[in-house]
Symmetry: none
Subunit: 283 residues, 2 copies
DNA sequence: TACGGAGTCAATAATTTATGCTCTTTACTT
DNA sequence: AAGTAAAGAGCATAAATTATTGACTCCGTA
């Protein structure tokens, strides 16, 4: 996997110094050839050891290994860009916006996939399976509610009983009914909403399983959860970032959904439901 | 010039030791990553200084520079394809699932883009701009409601007054308040819902602008609309198709959204709103 | 045979990278 | 609110890698 994608994906979780290194690398990947770890440190006004530790933390053997990998990535990217530019030639100008956006979505998706091991995604699916004798609770505010709502609808189609809340007070009331192995999925981009944290804490006290869905930044909600799904989506443009977040998160959820669909029984249920919906529109 | 080509071209004029280095590099370029100059020397039974001198003689700053260049060359030669295949090998099954799904989404997006000329997308954005003295109405049922809701929220962030309905009766009541140039966006995957068609018809009678968002199939709703956005998303698997539909549609809407964002005034409004939301969570 | 040039290597100098340790900050607990 | 654990950053230094030097050898030639 491209080291640059990896750096970007972890950027949100980094300390200040690390983030400066990351930004420098992302901006100046082509120039890295002529930088020793010491020179890079000087350029950023930090210590050489920080650079080395940064490299190791990302999983490279050391600084030269990082440098080598980025060199490869840049070389590959240069090739790719040429090909992409050729394709551009045949496009209308205003399509470029959509094209660009899709590319950024793809990057966000890749970075997000890196952050969520297959085990984790499967873990969420299993938790939901285990819960299906009980219930799956979902909650989120604002844009997060959209995801909660959409996922709740999908689960319902699979015959999994869901309780979707967009209201903290109502959810608080529901907590009383929580049984062991019930699952609560909390959607909160920044994971800082006090009400959601409180609900999460109560829920865990009832021995329910808590799944958090947040940005890949350290945050209190995430710290509480049994399983955490995290999303990487970064862009300087404030109007773009939410789109990337939404897309990457959606894809993550789609992954869980497809795992659930692998169960034949649920799939039958889905087909039956779809048919029922179909006939509801016809007559 | 590629360092490997250069090495090959000069090989014939080299001394015995140099030629052994050259041959090793040409044969094992991909393995070079893990060789220091000393290890390379050991592998060939020669001295480390010979390796360094070799590098310099070829015009590189030193051994690390040679190594870096060969790394680039190999990456370029692999051209991504091999790398992707290699990466596949190490993937878990569920990663492959996610990977596959993303590829299908990309296809759906492309197909959908082809169906919606840039003019059309821009037309929707303009209609919304024109409406912003009045109102933008949005409606959709079931999964379609998710999109209506999400888009309504985005418009609201841009300071565009929206009326979101998930209830045909309430929407019917609202139709009375429609003014010329108001916009109604109807989300309906199959475009067959009688209630929605009826609402669309009433709306047009009030001289509002009707935008339909449906699948790319002939359908009554689409026939009514002033502007039609259409989505292409096909898959044999019934559990996959909705995901593709959702993704392609979302991207289409994102395109409209970004066009609206280009207006500086709206963008300021968005930034102000985002900040306001941010501070609401902090204290 | 003596000389010169090219090539190699061992030794070592110079540079670069990695690590241990300490100090500071942060966040969490009681 | 104070204490404490954990993490991060930098300094000093150890370890490694790389570059250079100088001596030796092997040829070909005068």
């Amino acid at each position: 996997m491209s080291p640059l994608v990896k750096i970007r994906s972890e950027r949100d979780q980094m300390s200040a110094v690390e983030r400066r290194i990351a930004d420098f690398l992302l901006d100046n990947a082509q120039l890295l050839r002529d930088y020793s770890s010491q020179q890079l440190a000087n350029a950023l006004g930090i210590s050489q050891s920080s650079v080395v530790k940064f490299s190791q933390k990302l999983g490279f053997k050391g600084y030269p290994d990082l440098k080598f990998s980025i060199g490869e990535a840049v070389a590959r990217a240069d090739n790719g860009d040429d090909a992409q530019l050729a394709a551009h030639g045949t496009q209308h100008a205003s399509d470029a916006l959509a094209d660009q956006l899709w590319r950024r979505k793809s990057e966000a998706e890749q970075a997000t996939r890196l952050l969520n091991p297959a085990d984790t995604v499967a873990g969420v699916a299993n938790a939901i399976r285990a819960a299906s004798h009980g219930k799956v609770f979902l909650i989120g505010f604002g844009e997060d509610d959209i995801h909660a709502r959409g996922f709740a609808m999908k689960l319902a189609l699979l015959g999994i009983p869901t309780v979707h809340n967009f209201d903290a007070a109502r959810m608080a009331a529901n907590v009383a009914t929580v049984a062991r192995d019930d699952v609560l999925m909390v959607f909160s981009e920044h994971g800082r909403h006090p009400a959601l944290c409180k609900i999460g804490r109560w829920f865990r006290e009832q021995h329910g399983r808590l799944v958090s869905i947040t940005r890949h930044t350290p945050n209190p909600l995430r710290a509480l959860a049994d399983i955490t799904l995290v999303v990487s989506a970064h862009d300087e443009a404030a109007e773009l970032e939410p789109l990337l977040y939404q897309s990457a998160l959606q894809h993550l959820l789609d992954g869980v959904y497809l795992l659930l669909c692998e169960d034949p029984e649920r799939r039958d249920c889905l087909h039956a439901n779809l048919e029922r919906i179909q006939t509801m529109l016809e007559p």
